[in-house]
């Protein structure tokens, strides 16, 4: 599958293709998505009982790195890794049949609507409310920056069903049709060209069968899916960095100034070496996060993904900024590839918590080497 993916992306995801996908609705390529389905990419993390391939986080890592190399626009992370991670963990057999199967065959785009504005650093803070009356639940609230919210065929919405606004217990997940009346979706582009939405939910009614998992038990599932997503984001960032670093090295060899390739200048050589070290350190930590995500120890997983995000953040900043600096003027132009990789790295650093945030999380746990 990895080979098929590499070939597919090389064939159909050159930089000018990407421009076209971004410009047309829905901001990514349904054709590519169909091909992802064809080579099994969309089935990867699902269990074989629900028609999936039983892929591991390491398999996801390999895919995400390739997607990162081409800074792809498709909703793989949001639909397959995030929403898929929740479905795999919590969907009922009926839901697998009605939802997962369609996700796997590429006909259903699902987005997770969990984060709300102003809750950074407090992942269990959910202000969206769901109140039960009989067999119906009535949901009201506001969700922020829902990835690909405008092309989602289904939303997984987290809502508070009991407890105080920041309690971990009392959060429930609901499958909601975004085309329901009383859902207002305001969409916009992110800096990397991906689409996202702010979603206003005004007293939307859903049946009890729309619950994914048990009442009040959503946070545990969200958190596991988030760890997996973090590991995937780290892998994606490694793909972006690898490609950007390679581009930079190629440029250093080819670009001449004062009569010689600028790669002959020792200062630039040593900086390119520093970038390479940062890249390999990041790659190691992305691997580590993926490996650890396969274990059962939640503390160890949390520690691993946070430390990976710290390393990836540091490396991404160094590589991104240095690459742009070495490219000079063209590094900051829209028509040239490198700047887009830099922007993507900037976004990935801010997505699901920047390095400083994850460092702060690490300080409250045991030392990284104290568990051994």
């Amino acid at each position: 599958m990895q080979d098929s993916l590499v070939r597919l992306l090389q064939r159909s995801y050159a930089f000018d293709h990407r421009w076209k996908y971004e410009a047309a609705t829905p901001g990514w390529s349904r054709e590519i998505w169909a091909q992802f389905a064809e080579i099994g990419l969309l089935a990867l993390p699902f269990t074989s009982e629900s028609g999936g391939l039983d892929g591991t986080p390491v398999d996801t890592m390999i895919v995400m790195e390739q997607l990162g190399r081409h800074i792809t626009l498709e909703p793989y992370l949001s639909t397959i890794v995030m929403a898929g991670g929740i479905l795999r963990r919590a969907a009922s057999t009926e839901q697998h049949e009605s939802i997962s199967t369609k996700v796997i065959d590429g006909s259903l785009i699902v987005s997770l609507a969990h984060t709300e504005r102003g809750t950074f650093g407090s992942p269990s803070r959910v202000g969206t409310q769901a109140v039960r009356s009989g067999d119906l639940w009535q949901i009201s609230g506001h969700k922020s920056c829902v990835l690909h919210g405008d092309s989602a065929d289904l939303l997984i919405i987290s809502a508070r069903t009991s407890g105080a606004p920041s309690d971990a217990k009392g959060i429930t997940l609901f499958a909601v049709d975004p085309r329901a009346t009383n859902i207002n979706i305001q969409s916009y582009a992110l800096h990397d060209g991906q689409r996202a939405s702010d979603i206003q939910i005004n007293s939307v009614l859903v049946p009890h069968s729309a619950l994914i998992g048990c009442v009040d038990d959503g946070f545990r599932i969200l958190q596991s899916a988030e760890y997996e997503t973090l590991a995937a984001v780290c892998a994606e960032a490694v793909g972006v960095m690898s490609e950007l670093h390679q581009m930079t090295v190629d440029y250093l060899k080819q670009r001449k100034q004062f009569g010689v390739p600028i790669g002959n200048f020792q200062a630039l050589q040593h900086r390119a070496a520093d970038m390479y070290i940062a890249l390999e350190q990041a790659r190691s930590m992305a691997m580590y996060a993926a490996m650890m995500s396969q274990t059962d120890d939640k503390t160890a997983i949390a520690q691993a993904v946070s430390s990976a995000k710290v390393q990836i953040g540091r490396s991404a900043k160094l590589i991104g900024e240095e690459a742009v600096q070495m490219f000079g003027g063209i590094g900051v132009t829209m028509e040239f590839k490198a700047g887009h990789y830099f922007k993507k790295l900037t976004l990935l650093e801010q997505f699901l918590g920047h390095a400083d945030h994850h460092l702060e999380l690490l300080t409250s746990g045991p030392g990284l080497f104290e568990l051994e």
Binding site: T119, F120, G121, S122, C145, G328, V332, Q350, G353
Partner: protein, 389 residues
């Protein structure tokens, strides 16, 4: 050695502040907060307001409209404008071509151009960089062939900021290809309306349009628009590049960013309370403030030294460029970090606050360590001119 302002300077600062408060419109201010890009009408309007007050070109000789201020006062003036923030003066006009014309231009050129620059009747842009030259500016290829009373110019310039608004461009052109590269360059003033000039926009990664390519196809330039002597253009260019002393560090810009960082962090919740109350964040802020304070003092030292020596630019001013750009970039990154997850959104009319422009500004400002003599060039200058390596 005087590292604090004296009473006269403090009074001057108050005067400048009061003038800005009275004259800067909210619209201009918001334009600066949002963009960082020059807004043509604001720049022109504000320049005229300043010029009317006699502050349009304070650093020029008094006979051409200068204010006769000390370097320190000029620096105070610049910093207050940046802190406001008020529209930036068009540096290509008032800091670059103006001083070159004053120093090397003909009487005709002085009379024709200087008053119009001071009042921003003409918008100037700079035609130095070329696609294959990069930091090796002198390897430029755009050529000017003398034909009677005209030069015929052919070639291409790039990274030309705000060429889309320009009435005039000052260009380095090759007038003698047979000699050492620095020796065959001339400095020409070219009317942008001359036939044969094409401007092609370059979009930057933040989505903005600031820089351009400018193509010259048999453009006829009257020889009276040659500055100084033919083939001496490199000297004038060096003079120009070292002229914008007072604004290299752009301290006011970074200070204004830090003010905004405090403001934004005070209204951004993190783990349930304002980010500004978190020790980790305060430590980052304090560390940047220390570096900025150090640069402020370093700038005062360079300015006092120049005030005493009248003229010769201190190679130590390369410090101002390197540290100044690092701090502009660090403060713009700090704002991104404060935004956190909101930093992902591209500017959108749905979010009309200046905070929506933060990430775009961070992207755009990667340029400040590249343009105007990259930080690598500055470090080489320090190593060679100061350290003798």
């Amino acid at each position: 050695m005087e590292l604090q302002f004296n009473a006269d300077e403090i009074a001057f600062r108050e005067e400048v502040r009061a003038f800005i408060a009275d004259n800067l419109t909210e619209e201009m201010k918001q334009g600066m907060l949002r963009g960082g890009y020059l807004i043509r009408d604001h720049v022109i309007e504000w320049q005229r307001i300043l010029n009317k007050k006699g502050w349009g070109v304070p650093h020029w000789p008094v006979e051409w409209g200068g204010a006769g201020w000390s370097p320190i006062k000029q620096s105070i003036f610049t910093e207050e404008l940046q802190l406001a923030p008020a529209p930036r003066p068009l540096s290509f006009s008032v800091y670059m071509v103006g001083p070159v014309i004053i120093e090397f231009g003909s009487e005709y050129q002085k009379k024709r151009f200087l008053p119009r620059i001071a009042n921003s009747d003409d918008w100037w842009c700079q035609g130095f960089s070329e696609p294959d030259a990069g930091s090796d500016l002198a390897s430029l290829k755009t050529n000017a062939r003398r034909e009677g009373d005209y030069y015929i110019v052919n070639g291409q310039k790039t990274w030309t900021s705000y060429a889309q608004y320009a009435d005039w461009i000052f260009c380095l052109v090759r007038t003698d290809p047979t000699v050492k590269k620095q020796m065959g360059i001339s400095f020409l003033l070219i009317d942008m309306k001359t036939p044969g000039i094409t401007v092609r926009p370059i979009q930057t990664i933040d989505g903005g349009h600031e820089v351009n390519e400018v193509f010259f196809d048999n453009v006829k330039v009257p020889s009276e628009n040659l500055v100084g002597e033919e083939n001496k253009g490199w000297d004038y260019a060096k003079f120009l590049l070292s002229a914008e002393r007072v604004n290299l560090a752009r301290l006011g810009v970074s200070k204004e960013r830090l003010q905004r960082a405090r403001e934004l962090a005070a209204r951004t919740p993190y783990q349930g309370r304002p980010l500004l109350e978190h020790d980790g964040f305060r430590t980052k802020l304090a560390a940047l403030e220390v570096e900025l304070k150090a640069l402020e003092i370093t700038q005062l030292r360079v300015l006092s030294a120049e005030g005493q020596s009248h003229g010769a630019p201190d190679p130590a001013s390369s410090i101002l460029k390197v540290k100044g750009s690092e701090l502009q970039q660090a403060t713009s990154n700090l704002l991104v970090q404060i935004l956190g997850p909101d930093a992902l959104r591209r500017q959108d009319d749905a979010f009309d606050d200046w905070s929506s422009m933060i990430t775009a500004n961070y992207f755009n400002w990667r340029k400040v360590s590249i343009f105007g003599g990259s930080n690598e060039i500055q470090k080489t200058i320090i190593a060679k001119s100061i350290l003798g390596l």
